[in-house]
Amino acid sequence: MIELLSAANAGVLTLLILALAALAYVLARHRALRAVDGDVRRLHSLPSYYGYAAAMLTAVPALLVLAVWLIVQPWLVQMQVAQTIPAADGARAVETLPALLSDAGIALGGTLEPAIVEAAQQHARLRALGHAGRSLVVLVLAIAGLVAALRMTDPTFRARNTVESGVRALLILAASLAILTTVGIVLSMLFESINFFRAHPWQDFFFGDSWSPNFRGDSDLSILPLLWGTLYISFIALAVAVPIGLYAAIYLSEYANNRVRSIAKPLLEILAGIPTIVYGLFALLTVGPFLVSVFGRGEDGLLGVDWMNGATSVLTAGLVMGIMLIPFVSSLSDDIINAVPQSLRDGSYGLGATHSETIRQVVLPAALPGIVGAILLAASRAIGETMIVVLGAGAIARISANPFEAMTTITTRIVSQLTGDTDFASPETLVAFALGLTLFVLTLALNVLALYIVRRYREQYE
């Protein structure tokens, strides 16, 4: 019996519980119907609700206990076993293990200390015992739930309300999982960043002026040149995306007739569906060489100037990123402009204002907070964008005002610090987490600000 119980792994157990739950559904539904001789109107809830409630009571507590057990048992067993190994022995065993492994194989067993062997045996024993106990407890709980649910099933039991609260709990669980994941991400970044700041002075990270990672150690790891590159490229991107996106939105929402809108809007939104790596290729292979042929090559160039040497530059990445952001700005602004009440436009027309006067003086001021929010959201996307800058901006960290030079951004440096052979204890690798955290804080602040502005704007018209 014990063998059978300990053999049941978590998957089998889950299946068993679900089978029990299905059984509970059928039985409870049947019982509820029988209690009123098939007259559904005398039941508090529809028969299937009795079934769902019983299935819920059978499965949920058992599955919860199973989940908790899965997490807690290995930890408890570890604690128990670790106590039996003398402290010094434990340490030495770990130290000698690589050497033993290099001896390759069976000889290894003979050199093990008796305490370790005993601990291993105890570990296996405890594990088997734990598994048996787990199966027993979980199954007993499921059956108890089934029995309790069946006993509860009578015409006055509020099965519908029970199921409703179960559904609510499920929704709350889903929502909190999403939030907890965010918290988890932040915490993991935070811990790695703390490790980084132990190994590298924070003054250099935040206020230094040079970025030159060096895998032999002793690197300059300052965020400022990267932040400058990020902000410069984002600024150019917004300078491209905001006017074009906004004008497109104004045209689509105010001037275009239905036919044009039904064609142009999906076309614009196709831009938003292009993977950013494709934009990156576009930057590298098309926009960059084009810009070089305009601004570079000396006498052979279109302008006869020699300002630009390579295809990768701030301008290349900024232009392409701007194109990427156009649909983002335009579709958000379009929604916001459409949300301005028609009555305001009528009021303005009624006073003899022309179409463009109405847009300039009534519609846009009314939509302005929302548009600002849209721009901030676009900015936070620009700051976090990676693939376009990896391919389009170059890899040189510098603080310069020349848009024709290659620069690099926070995101591309995170990629390059974490790819290839990396030692996860060196500041050169850990700096990626500090960079990521800074980036996260930056975009989070922008998003919060944008949402706050958009929400205030919404309240104004509701």
């Binding site: 305001l344 027309y349 003899g352």
Partner: protein, 261 residues
Amino acid sequence: MTANAEAPGTEPKISARNVQVYYGDTHAIKDVSVDIEDKTVTAFIGPSGCGKSTFLRCINRMNDTIDVARVEGDIRIDGEDIYDRRVDPVQLRAKVGMVFQKPNPFPKSIYDNVAYGPRIHGLARNKAELDDIVERALRRGAIWDEVKDRLSAPGTGLSGGQQQRLCIARAVATEPEVLLMDEPCSALDPIATAQVEELIDELRQNYSVVIVTHSMQQAARVSQKTAFFHLGHLVEYGETDRIFTAPEDPRTESYITGRIG
């Protein structure tokens, strides 16, 4: 047609002949002819969907802003065909002001709301003149005393009745000749309604006022002439007293006595 109960000798301010309006395939106004006098309050009454608001919106060509709307027939203001090619609807609307059902102040200050029309039409040469126009309009809108200390406060922060009077002040600030009002009191409480009605009566001194209303009591209180619309037709038009005491058409009588509507 029982329209045209015109006293001989007075030139009508607005004269409409055989007006048809279509919304796509729907024939919303069917062959309406009417003469509206200057310095008079004319009320349009009728059940919902009878076309009274649609006809009102023909008078300042607001229907032009609706893509599917089409207007046929002849509407003249002071003898000038307003649907003539040479007439710019934008200029027409400066001459024919409009107040809407729901108060719709712009999300600007009270001052800027009233100054909006004068600014876009260049009615003031300098700040002092504009101040003057704004004050006069607010006084005429019977709201000056309530807002004179907070002209820079947002117009959207006023109460519903104040907002509607602000919108009336905004409409009169451009010195229109005709003022169209589309159910101006339907979103207001009885006290605000009384204030607006009193205001309408004062505005009659200077303007030809056309008001669409669902309330027959209101039509009886504020208007001198009443037009009854039903299913897109102008059923009866004449002196308000006569319409309400001795209607000629059985449909008018049914509506006034509450049997249809």
